[in-house]
Amino acid sequence: MNENRYVEQVMGLPVTLVLRGRHAGTDAGAAAWSEVLACLRYVDTTFSTYRPGSAVSRIDRGELTVDDAPAVVREVVELAERAHELTDGWFSVWLPDADRPGRRRFDPSGLVKGWAVERAATALDRLDGTDWCLAAGGDLVARTGRTHDGRVPWRVGVEDPADPRRTLAVVPLLDGGCATSGDAHRGAHVLDPWTGRPARAGGSVTVVAPTLLWADVWATAGYARGDAAADWLAATCPYTTLVVGPGGDVRMTDARDRDRTVTSVAHA
């Protein structure tokens, strides 16, 4: 089948799109890709914690209230509140601030990336007869079953957190999102929402869910949960997860079968 791949750096992250089917390589395909990038750049301008003038930075400094913020910011804050509830507080966008004791830092980036990529991908749904898979910095969302070849899954490799040249698993993804949280490429960027300190060092948590938004939320919360991640996800997360421990042990949880909680897998 016709396949076409685009790559670009946006929001400081590599963004990759693969199109398969009718619009792989067409002008319409290229136009949809441009739309995806424009959407991601808009989100970056609004939500960046690195840009002092962004709505998020202004909220963090107390110059703007959530109620007065753009509608997209209110939407993200509402989603974040639901995420906070569903994860028993292990996902939070208000993090303790080590530099300002007693204050909390507003940082929705743990949720914004998945939300933004999914939102940007709506441009791809307009490409008829075309399957697509859109990835940004290791998180991705995919659709299949739109071509004449039927439902051919995208083959998503789950990276080995100890070595980005290796994969630990393949997820044949039809429709939905896949997100991984860890420290492999960024130093410690997942913070424990209770302490504001880095969650842990090593390993990763991958979640496969019907949407990237919730895959991202659960991966982040699971990683913040530290050594208890697999047991906790097995008990609370309604999706399939793959937890890699700091020592490289792999455990899988599958909410579709509560009897099977956690599987340990031998090492190569």
Partner: protein
């Protein structure tokens, strides 16, 4: 070729693989089904030399590196229907993963299918081994990305 690209290619040339097929378990089955261990796993071989039917774990030792083999996992009965996975290996490298059987037939099953069946496949892939479409990994910076498998796939595919 820059040094980082060289790292990726070097990784590809020393590919090793250990394959574990993950099957759904039911209340009457074990939690993990591996191709190597399951009594109903079968191996078929094509290519110059017949490889022993030793399962996927045998790929690491002694077989003709050019031989292409397929390893078929057992059919695992789940509450949603039968699930079966097949791997294709060339020497020690997995070149394809396919789901032979998966539950289908009603909307609920379709919803289940969209969650995907993760298959544990530990291996090193290089840029020429484009049997994976995308990689999910911890957030990549530009520098981390250059060393990653996703980068190798993107270079091979653009």
């Amino acid at each position: 070729m820059n040094p980082l690209q060289r790292i990726v290619v070097a990784g590809a040339s020393t590919a090793t693989a250990l394959v574990l097929l993950f099957g759904y378990h039911t209340s009457t089955m074990g939690a993990l089904v591996t191709a190597a261990e399951s009594p109903s796993a079968s191996t078929t071989t094509s290519g110059a030399t017949a490889a022993p039917a030793a399962g996927a774990a045998g790929a690491a030792g002694g077989t003709d590196p050019s031989a292409t083999r397929t390893v078929t996992g057992p059919t695992v009965q789940t509450q949603w229907g039968p699930v079966q996975v097949q791997l294709t290996l060339k020497g020690g490298t997995i070149t394809d993963v396919s789901v032979l059987q998966k539950p289908s037939g009603n909307p609920q099953d379709d919803a289940i299918n969209s969650y995907a069946l993760p298959i544990l496949v530990r291996e090193t892939l290089g840029r020429q081994s484009a049997q994976i479409d995308m990689v999910s990994g911890a957030t990549v910076t530009s520098v981390g990305y250059l060393q990653s498998l996703q980068s190798a796939l993107d270079q091979a595919g653009v």
